[in-house]
């Protein structure tokens, strides 16, 4: 009996689960559950990446995305009050357009993958020896070949930070506390205006 093709089975399970949770992200009504499905999406992606022996990237995905980004995202979603009824109304009215676009885009991808260009022989699973350093090879490419793109991405992050702050920052907030020194310095002429006007007949 041939040994069980464990990587293949894992791949099928992870991909089916990934696609299912990705569909759930969009279709679930409750925003919090939607975020949780997104977390699930990332989790199954890490399994796929582990199968490709990209251990560093999959761990980073767990630490950074699931651990930090999605937690923050969850807080934001919980703080916002989303009107579910409005969401479902919009959902129905945009459904035909969405389905149409989905068919076109997925159809194009299916066509492209069926093309003789993408044969199974051209895409074999990578296999690296035990002393292969994931982080080292990633860093070597990132800081040599793609250093310009890497730096540009960092400037984009700076712009995002700056744009978000400049849109939200309202100026220095003084609060509603009393300003004692100004109160003491107030003079009568600052507050009181005596108007000279004729007395009216009763």
């Amino acid at each position: 009996m041939a040994p069980l093709p464990i990587p293949d089975i894992l791949f099928v399970i992870a991909s089916v689960a990934l696609i299912t949770s990705a569909v759930l992200v969009v279709t679930i009504r409750n925003p919090v559950r939607s975020v949780l499905s997104l977390v699930l999406c990332f989790l199954f992606t890490t399994i796929l990446w582990l199968l490709l022996q990209a251990e560093f990237l999959s761990l980073v995905l767990i630490f950074v995305y699931i651990g930090a980004v999605m937690t923050l995202f969850m807080f934001v979603v919980m703080m916002m009050h989303v009107d579910k009824r409005m969401l479902s109304e919009k959902f129905v009215s945009y459904l035909p357009l969405g389905v149409g676009l989905l068919v076109v885009f997925v159809g194009l991808i299916v066509y492209a993958l069926h093309h003789h260009n993408f044969t199974k022989a051209a895409y074999v699973m990578p296999h690296f020896p035990a002393n292969y350093h994931n982080t080292e090879s990633l860093g070597a490419v990132l800081y040599t070949h793609y250093v310009l793109a890497f730096e540009m991405a960092s400037v984009i992050l700076l712009v995002a930070l700056l744009a978000a702050i400049s849109l939200v920052f309202q100026g220095r907030q003084s609060g509603k506390s009393q300003c004692v020194d100004k109160q003491i310095q107030a003079k009568k002429k600052d507050r009181l205006v005596v108007i000279d006007m004729k007395s009216e007949a009763p």
């Binding site: 885009f105 093309h115 793109a149 540009m152 984009i156 702050i165 849109l167």
Partner: protein
């Protein structure tokens, strides 16, 4: 680090300098008072120095040669030099005109200038991008600050709405572009334009359909950014809703960067597919000219009128690429540069007419401008005549070159359509002139503007007249840029 690696950084010196200066301006902004002008002066100084550095790097360090760096992801050639200098000059004028407008309104001025510098940096990187990755990142780097600048007037609901609309629609455009890029990468297996061009030229027949998909989606993505039919719907709303200073910024310089993206992608990477993209561009150009010009006829808002006229002008510009000859490319480059100069002057006049608490947006606000400020009215007259294509102004020469390029490739019907559409265009441009010169002003109030802005707008306006009479210098530059 070896000498070889260090050589990579020579052609990118201007960008590095601008990045450092943008960060310095950001730091300075944290220490000066909110109404201080220090950030403005530092930004303008950085722009001037960057322009000098671009020219110096190209002619002295690179000795006027085409240089590629970072594994063929970045190219610094004559075209890049010319477009970068033009973009920087246009941004310089934009900031000059916007200064009092922004100061009179509740906008974070310091951040506005830093964002403008970073957007300029993105444009420069996009102009020099020679790989799909740098192209996409450059595009995002120059658009992200624009969204924030459009939405910056927090007191105005329309400004925030315009910013949101711009952001969402641009995201769709970026998505289409990336979809096209992914197909291009899937078929050719490479990210650099040189390799992609080799691959397409060598193995064209076998990947016919996939390459077409890549082409259609890439062109659609760029059409979003250029704002041409059928992806033009954001243009009028964003131009109208944004603060006028941001409208000027969005309208002028980014077109230069988008032109560079389109030119490099279509003529460097996909030159083997010329017959296919020619058809696509003909449809886009004709529809843009029709929709832009006819919609502009019925507008009562100046900013919306400029928006529709920009759709039409981008349609004209595409005619040069459609011709597919080096004469045509030169004409398109010439046209996009002259369009940027004309737009800067046009919005400049509108910005100068704004006062505290008064936003100029209706065509009727221009009534009797000739009695309120004869000089500004004259500059606006030059802009309108130039956009309409009246000799001896810049817009006339630019259009003649486009038509000549079309005639040489025997696309006579396209020439006829263009001429008819130009006639439609003349109508609404003349309507503005008529309001300025032949109608009674609503208010008698004189228009006051600062001396430096006055000098700027005069230079900008007279440049259109000067280049219209003596186009040789700019034409020689454009020819050099295209022939390499």
């Amino acid at each position: 680090m070896t000498v070889d690696t260090l050589m990579n950084f020579v052609p990118i010196t201007p960008e590095l300098f601008l990045l450092v200066m943008a960060c310095t301006t950001l730091l300075l902004a944290a220490f000066v008072r909110p109404n201080s002008q220090a950030c403005y002066f530092l930004s303008q100084l950085s722009l001037i120095l960057t322009a000098v550095l671009v020219v110096h790097t190209f002619f002295v360090s690179d000795q006027g040669m085409t240089v590629t760096a970072f594994h063929d992801m970045f190219v610094f050639d004559y075209l890049a030099m010319l477009l970068k200098v033009t973009a920087i000059v246009v941004v310089f004028f934009s900031l000059l005109y916007s200064r009092s407008y922004n100061a009179d309104r509740p906008m974070s001025q310091h951040e506005y200038h830093v964002l403008a510098l970073l957007s300029t940096l993105g444009m420069m990187l996009l102009i020099s991008a020679h790989g799909l990755l740098t192209m996409y990142l450059g595009l995002e780097l120059f658009s992200l600050p624009l969204y924030a600048m459009v939405a910056m007037r927090r007191d105005s609901f329309r400004s925030v709405e315009a910013g949101m609309k711009y952001f969402v629609i641009s995201a769709v455009g970026s998505g289409l572009l990336l979809y096209g890029f992914s197909f291009l990468f899937g078929v050719t297996g490479s990210l650099t334009l040189t390799d992609i061009a080799h691959h397409i030229a060598g193995a064209y027949a076998s990947h016919d359909a996939l390459l077409l998909i890549a082409l259609v989606f890439s062109v659609a993505g760029i059409a979003f950014k250029l704002g041409v039919v059928p992806f033009q719907m954001w243009v009028p709303d964003v131009y109208d809703g944004a603060p006028t200073s941001a409208t000027l910024f969005v309208a002028a310089a980014p077109k230069l960067a988008a032109f560079a993206l389109m030119f490099r992608l279509l003529t460097h990477a996909m030159s083997a597919l010329q017959a296919e993209w020619q058809v696509l561009l003909i449809v886009i150009a004709v529809l843009s000219m029709l929709l832009g010009n006819f919609s502009a006829l019925v507008q009562t808002s100046i900013k919306r009128l400029f928006a529709y006229s920009s759709i039409a002008h981008m349609g004209y510009m595409l005619l040069g690429l459609i011709a597919g000859t080096s004469l045509g490319y030169t004409a398109a480059l010439f046209y996009v540069i002259s369009y940027a100069i004309m737009t800067a002057a046009g919005f400049g006049v509108i910005l100068l007419m704004n006062r505290q608490g008064v936003d100029i947006n209706e065509l009727d606000d221009l009534k009797g401008l000739s009695t309120r400020s004869p000089w500004l009215a004259f500059i606006m007259l030059l802009v309108m005549f130039s956009m309409a294509g009246v000799p001896p102004l810049l817009g006339f020469i630019a259009k003649v070159q486009l038509l000549e390029a079309l005639v040489q490739v025997h696309l006579i019907w396209l020439v006829v359509v263009t001429l008819l559409m130009s006639v439609v265009g003349v109508f609404y441009y003349l309507r503005i002139v008529q309001r300025m010169y032949f109608e009674e002003p609503v208010t008698e109030e004189k228009i006051h503007y600062r001396l430096d802005t006055g000098v700027g707008i005069s230079l900008n306006g007279l440049l259109m007249l000067f280049l219209g009479i003596f186009p040789d210098a700019l034409y020689v530059l454009a020819t050099h840029a295209i022939s390499g």
